[in-house]
């Protein structure tokens, strides 16, 4: 029934993110695109570790059964914090660029190529 729907949506999300990074004309849009790509990769990793009818990899008073693979979740935790660190830094660069250039338009932020 569900087929490979999570993987398909991951790919579509990656394409959206890359589209935002390449074609949109605002630096904050670039950061948004990066965020979307990063979330998509996270989703990809977590769905790689999903086992059908599995339970969360935590031993509690729950009915037993096959457990979802835990490693991708650990990797995703790392990757989420890295993502927020990256976007915070990029946004602070955006603020500085706006202060010195007065715009965030990617076609106008080009003082380096005179």
């Amino acid at each position: 029934m569900i087929f490979n729907a999570p993987f398909i949506s991951v790919m579509i999300l990656v394409i959206f993110g890359l589209y935002a990074m390449v074609f949109r004309r605002n630096l904050i849009k670039v950061v948004i695109g990066l965020d979307i790509v990063e979330s998509a990769v996270n989703l990809f990793m977590v769905s790689l570790g999903y086992v059908k009818n599995g339970i969360a990899p935590i031993y509690t008073n729950s009915p037993g059964g096959a457990m979802v693979l835990p490693t991708p979740q650990a990797l995703t935790l790392t990757s989420i914090v890295i993502g927020v660190a990256t976007s915070a830094m990029l946004l602070s660069f955006c603020i500085l660029i706006y202060r010195y250039y007065g715009t965030l338009d990617t076609r106008k932020v080009r003082r380096l190529r005179e």
């Binding site: 935590i58 031993y59 509690t60 008073n61 935790l77 989420i80 914090v81 603020i95 202060r99």
Partner: protein, 152 residues
């Protein structure tokens, strides 16, 4: 500064968020959660206070330098906990199953779990929690302060 309703509710909610964040940190090895998640929850609590009171009121309560120092100290605790095990190897979990502090054994399989298990994991959880709280809080304060303070 936002309206009085928001401020009152922020006063009321902030302890809850703090307690819940520390619950997530402390029970990281038993229930979902851990250092990052708890630290992020507490940092969001800081964000709540910042947005409720505004930067001008906050800056005398929470100092940026304090937050960055908190972050450094959390990281130091983390790396030192890793260093203590270096007699065997870096990041060796020397407390697990030792019977000492946090060293109780657990049986395999489904069990309710106790807080004093898992060796160095709770200590590392706490250290990372402090680190993430300081780091994310510092990022928030830096972004909030830019343009507010007069450039010398």
């Amino acid at each position: 500064m936002m309206s009085k309703i928001v401020r009152t509710q922020a006063n009321f909610l902030y302890p809850f968020i703090l307690i819940f964040g520390f619950y997530i940190v402390a029970h990281g090895h038993l229930t979902p959660g851990g250092g990052f998640q708890g630290g992020a929850v507490i940092a969001t609590g800081i964000a709540l206070v910042i947005v409720a009171y505004g930067y001008d009121r906050i800056k005398s309560w929470i100092k940026k330098s304090t937050l960055t120092a908190t972050e450094s100290i959390g990281l130091l605790c983390f790396i030192l906990t890793a260093f203590i095990g270096i007699g065997t190897s870096f990041f060796y979990n020397f407390l697990a199953n030792s019977g000492l502090l946090f060293g109780d054994r657990v049986s395999y399989g489904v069990n309710p779990g106790y807080l004093n298990t898992a060796g160095t994991l709770p200590i590392m959880n706490l250290a990372v929690g402090i680190e993430v709280l300081g780091g994310l809080g510092a990022i928030l304060m830096y972004m909030m302060s830019y343009g507010k303070e007069v450039d010398k």
